[in-house]
């Protein structure tokens, strides 16, 4: 952080403006920066700026067939490619009224479990935990507590193994198709995952105990929470969009309650409620709004922490919610693998039709909404993709306004660490959020 006194007018009574810049946020996915402007002890601007280049994915899919779209949107993110495939495939299948084999539905949950495990393990151990313990990075954490980092890497490896088996490779999987999968695993391939998953459940439970005991800053930041909620399952691929203030919508209808807006100085759109409010998506929202759908092992682990209420109001405690979801994903994956029967039909038949294909699923970082307009030729005419980081950006900035006055008098390095720790609590995936810039080309005659 490069802090400094601003060039306020000299003389008695003049207001000194201080500006704090973090030129490049580290330990987040993607390239962004942070600016705080403080005048007279009051934060007048908190800006999480995303300067990673715009990526134009919504334009890249125009003119493409749905199965092409699944491979293209997987490239949006190397950490959560499954999420992009899941939102897109469910949108197309809802429009085409595809009746997928129930075993395919289960396999898709398993695929999502794999992604949640690898993404959450990465964030908890490699990106976020060092903050709580005063380490500069995971390298220092490994030197002090090798067992913890080994546990995180083992979890991540298990998540990757699930995605690789179902998706063909651990990053940017290729097997998801409209109607199912291009290939379903053989039972013996699934059985090979069982030892790692048994271990992963124990590793995830240990993770909950570990993060619940980390020294955590106090903060009370009550945000409006938004997540999917399903009558039977912890939300992943299906459910209704609900909020902590009573919203209840089909997964197709995100645009009935939310909008995106361009904000100066950032290459990502911000999402807000239609009345302009900020809101929070992600593990803390899911655990709060759908905690009664957690796997029993995860629910028990959460209860043992005694932190369910604090997860609701303290963003720093999102690391606990993420760890609880590690238990859920590992336990559900273990159960699915133990009961696995290959689908009778891995790939159901379907026929394209024009119309609007829309759906929301739960990416590791929160709600991910896709909408595609399909033309008479069965190709995409228009697309909208709203990732969780765009939805959380306004909430992050609101939390920064709350936290900043309390840390600005600390030594600069300490203040920077605390502020970055807060941003990392939201696990922003900036690379995901940069494909929304509206490109306007003005041509002079």
């Amino acid at each position: 952080m490069h802090g400094g006194e601003g060039r306020g007018a000299a003389g008695a009574g003049a207001t000194i403006e201080r500006r704090f810049d973090v030129g490049q946020l580290t330990r987040v996915e993607g390239e962004g920066s942070l600016r705080l402007r403080v005048r007279g002890g009051v934060v007048v601007e908190a800006r999480l700026a995303i300067f990673e280049a715009p990526r134009y994915f919504e334009r890249l899919v125009v003119g493409r067939r749905p199965d092409d779209v699944l491979d293209i949107v997987a490239r949006i993110c190397g950490i959560c490619p499954v999420a992009y495939q899941m939102s897109a495939v469910h949108a197309f299948e809802a429009l085409y009224r595809v009746d997928v084999d129930p075993a395919v539905r289960t396999l898709r949950r398993l695929l999502y479990c794999g992604e949640w495990i690898e993404s959450h393990a990465l964030h908890v151990y490699l990106l976020h935990a060092p903050d709580f313990l005063g380490f500069e990075s995971v390298v220092a954490l490994a030197q002090a507590d090798r067992g913890a980092v080994e546990r995180g890497l083992a979890l991540k490896k298990t998540g990757n193994a699930i995605v690789a088996l179902l998706g063909g490779r651990p990053i940017h999987p290729v097997s998801v198709r409209v109607g199912g999968f291009s290939r379903a695993p053989r039972p013996r391939e699934m059985a090979a995952l069982r030892p790692a998953l048994e271990a992963a459940v124990e590793q995830a439970l240990e993770t909950v105990r570990w993060v619940a005991g980390l020294p955590t800053p106090d903060l009370r930041q009550v945000a409006r929470l938004v997540a999917l909620r399903h009558p039977d399952d912890y939300p992943m691929n299906e459910g209704r969009i609900v909020s902590s203030d009573g919203l209840d919508l089909p997964a197709t209808d995100w645009e009935a309650a939310f909008r995106e807006e361009q904000v100066e100085g950032t290459n990502a759109l911000h999402a807000r409620t239609l009345d302009g409010g900020a809101y929070l998506v992600g593990p803390a929202a899911r655990v709060t709004l759908a905690g009664d759908r957690l796997h029993p092992l995860a629910a028990e682990a959460l209860a043992a922490t005694g932190l369910a209420g604090e997860i609701r109001v303290n963003p720093y405690r999102s690391i606990v919610a993420r760890a609880v979801e590690l238990v859920h994903a590992a336990a559900e994956a273990r159960d699915i693998v133990a009961d696995y029967r290959a689908p009778e039909t891995a790939l159901a038949a379907w026929r394209a039709r024009p119309g609007t294909a829309a759906w929301a699923t739960e990416a590791p970082r929160g709600l991910l909404f896709h909408r595609y307009e399909i033309d008479e030729r069965g190709r995409v005419a228009e697309a909208r993709i709203v990732p969780p980081t765009s939805q959380n950006q306004a909430a992050i900035e609101e939390a920064l306004v709350t936290v900043a006055p309390g840390v600005l008098d600390l030594p600069e390095e300490t203040a920077q660490t605390r502020i970055e720790q807060l941003v990392r609590s939201y696990d922003p995936c900036i690379s995901c959020a940069t494909h929304f810039l509206e490109l306007t080309v003005e041509r002079e005659p």
Binding site: Q24, T26, V28, E29, G30, E31, E52, C77, G78, I79, L126, S137, V138, V139, A142, Q143, R146, V149, E150, L153, K157, I430, S431
Partner: protein
């Protein structure tokens, strides 16, 4: 020393000069790879370094004149400052090496062999300077492998 030499060939062949290590592999003498554990890794994951070794790691680098061959002991690479402008979805090479050493509780043995690239955009084509350097890169890999194999013997 705990096992056969492991050769880690990094880079993505569809990103311009990042494909140079894979291209150089095609020029290696087959005998150079005898008894060597060869692994292709688009990006280096710490898992690849947690067992075995010594290692020879081959990658494209930025900075020097395109086509320049860079050779360093792994310990020296680990001590380099991490480039914050690199990929944000993977740890930079010095951090991966340092993390692996911390988890193994001893420094990594081996050498890094790199070639300075010019462009890392879309496509499989190598820049002329990098293409011209491939025989030298292959010879450098060969030499590094021979040195590590000899130290293991």
């Amino acid at each position: 020393m705990s096992g056969p030499v492991r050769l880690l060939v990094l880079g993505e062949s569809q990103r311009g000069d990042d494909g140079a290590p894979a291209a150089a592999m095609r020029l290696l003498r087959r005998s150079a790879l005898r008894g060597v554990d060869v692994r292709r890794c688009p990006a280096l994951e710490v898992d690849a370094l947690l067992d075995g070794g010594p290692f020879v790691i081959v990658d494209a680098v930025r900075g020097p004149e395109p086509g320049t061959i860079v050779e360093q002991p792994l310990g020296a690479v680990a001590a380099l400052p991490a480039d914050p402008s690199g990929s944000t979805h993977a740890l930079p090479l010095p951090a991966v090496l340092t993390l692996a050493a911390a988890l193994r509780r001893r420094p990594l043995e081996g050498r890094f062999v790199g070639v300075a690239g010019e462009r890392f955009g879309w496509g499989q084509d190598l820049s002329p300077a990098v293409r011209a350097a491939l025989p030298v890169l292959a010879a450098s890999i060969d030499r590094a492998l021979a040195g590590e194999v000899e130290r293991c013997a």
